[in-house]
């Protein structure tokens, strides 16, 4: 892809997102029949609300949710399917393992930020084991040695030190998130990029940009490949709320400080 085309593609995606997010505002009512109150409404139930999450920007979020559905349908999933079709299963597993191993760097920095000594040692042990005996991360012998993986990120670090998740936020392409976790994602990406720029692994090849773009693209394809979630696949009309609730609860439980034992 030439630079010009790349810009165009980005511009199109941006314009599409903007268009989708504004589409809701433009709808005006023309001559619709008069509404009548439904047989059952919320006022008749005297019960606690449940499965609710702070979501003041629901309209925007639903637009993003929809954008991700289209992005998946027309671009992301066809690429992932093509990848799965041409790549032998064994190779797919090695690629996943490789990127998961690189992800240990993020796990390590964040367990250090949370001053978790044992966990940091375990994660460091995993990284060293898998990078050497595991042939540069292609295999995962550490797990069979009893070194358990601890997934960490900066969003969890913030949660650990007491930061609330803030409102729910659906990000383009990345999907369900929150204000706090979006901040975390930016910090983690910055740290990863900083380390990468410091090491500059492809600097001597003369094709550093092309190679690192390839590595990043494959990373994205692999992570979508590892994620089985498909937007609207359940057909359940309230899927958005189920996703929102489970995302929020899972993050909340996994990030907060453990309570002391009584």
């Amino acid at each position: 892809m030439t630079n010009h085309n790349r810009y165009r593609a980005r511009y199109c995606i941006f314009a599409l997102m903007l268009g989708l997010s504004l589409a809701g505002c433009a709808a005006t009512m023309v001559n619709t029949p008069v509404e009548e109150p439904p047989r059952h409404s919320i006022s008749e139930f005297k019960d606690q609300r449940f499965a609710e999450v702070a979501d003041p920007w629901e309209g925007f979020n639903r637009n993003m949710y929809r954008f991700n559905f289209y992005f998946d349908t027309y671009l992301f999933l066809p690429v992932v399917n093509g990848y799965e079709f041409v790549t032998p299963t064994f190779v797919q597993e090695r690629i996943s393992s490789f990127y998961n191993n690189i992800g240990e760097v993020k796990n390590l920095t964040n367990s250090l930020f949370q001053l978790k000594g044992t966990e940091s040692a375990t994660t460091l042990g995993r990284f060293l084991t898998n990078s050497t005996i595991g042939l540069g991360g292609l295999f995962d012998p550490a797990t069979s040695f009893g070194l358990e993986r601890h997934d960490q990120d900066f969003g969890k670090t913030l949660g650990y030190w007491g930061s609330d998740s803030g409102p729910y936020l659906v990000l383009p392409i990345f999907g369900p998130s929150s204000v706090r976790d979006t901040g975390g994602l930016i910090v983690d990406t910055g740290i990863t990029y900083g380390i990468y720029a410091g090491i500059d692994p492809f600097g001597s090849t003369g094709n550093s940009f092309a190679i690192s773009s390839g590595v990043t693209t494959l990373d994205a394809v692999d992570s979508r490949h590892q994620q089985s979630f498909r937007y609207y696949e359940s057909g359940y009309p309230f899927e958005y709320y189920m996703v929102r609730f489970f995302y929020h609860e899972k993050r909340d439980m996994e990030s907060r400080k453990p309570l002391p034992e009584n």
Partner: protein, 432 residues
Amino acid sequence: MTHLRLLFITCLVLLPLPSSAADSSYGYPIQGSYEATIIGTTANLIPEFPAKMRTRQLVLDVIPGRQKPPVFFYDKGLRCTFAYQKQKAPLVFLIAGAGASDRAPKLLSIMKSLYQAGFHVITLPSPSNANFIISASQSRIPGDLTEDAADLYRAMETAWKQVEGDIEVSSFNLCGYSLGASQAVAVAKLDEERRVFTFRKVLMINPTVSLYSSVTRIEDMLKQIPGGPKKQGIFFNKMFSKFSEYYRYGNFVAINDDFLYSIYAEKLFSHEETGGLIGLTFRINLAGMIFASDVMTNSGYVVPKNRVLSPTDSLFDYFLVSTHLSFFDYFNEYFYPYFQKQRPGLTKQALIESESIRSIEGYLKSSAKFGMMTNENDFILTKAELDYLRQLFGERSKIYPRGGHLGNIEYKENLAYVVNFFTKEGVSHDKP
């Protein structure tokens, strides 16, 4: 979202540990019926499936010209999953259980087992799944055995038309679980008139005898929670904080199998609470059906009549309202009035009876193509209903000592039974 629903169910529950030694050679480990239903089959007890399979998703235009409201913009047609062989092979249509989509995990496990054994397979969503209501239901009002069967039959014909050029088929077969099992026999009966498929064999897995009676038993589980079903929000919030607090007290790495096993081992939830969670899951499922049907028919049941919902409108209040409605509310206020209009003089009792497989028992008895598998402790059946099935199917039935409602369907031995049922030659054992 199937995996999310799974996560939901798995997360919420706990299974009291199996008490002492198993009583038979059957290896499925979970004794309790509620616990088995919620936990299902753990990954190590599910057989290994091939990593790559020839599958594709069919998106079918079953009812040409069907108008779909903007809120269902993502629904492009009825979705079915199609797994196919290169060589000539028998084809099995699989019908999902109440509320489930064509990619429900249990349905896919059955599909993979059959595919592995050399069958072509087409999975269909349940007629009570929103996708089916929107794209394949003529009346858009699910729950009637006869109408649902006619809709399913049309969907199967459409699916077959779409793939018949690509595969060679030696025979047609049919299988369904839970509500889908009862629908499978109704479809088989319809096929005796239409003769498009002339099904060779039909397997019912954990069927209902009477839809109404089974749903009554599930609704009853929700009555056991403090304050009854009208206080399900309080119950939900309480169960969830129990769950989350338990996580924070223990030193868990993540919400994973170890954590869930620990909940099971520690009996975090009582038997009644576990039952309440099953009932609540049923209601959450039912809410999707009620809402989808109401929007499609513009009946003004939970959504104001004539309101056009946009793709970005909040639906949360509709979610809360719909989950607070019971199956009986749906039946009495929505379902029955519709059929009463269609068939003047129809009584409620007659409608309830028509939703039972007893209404076609003569056919079930006379035809050797049927088989039935279920569990001793499937709570959707009364003792009398289980005896009735045993007597009706005789040697054609297989009843496992435990597994609750569908908890053991992904267990190796059960899947092997399903495959064997369709593999073995001919149809025999015609006596009850």
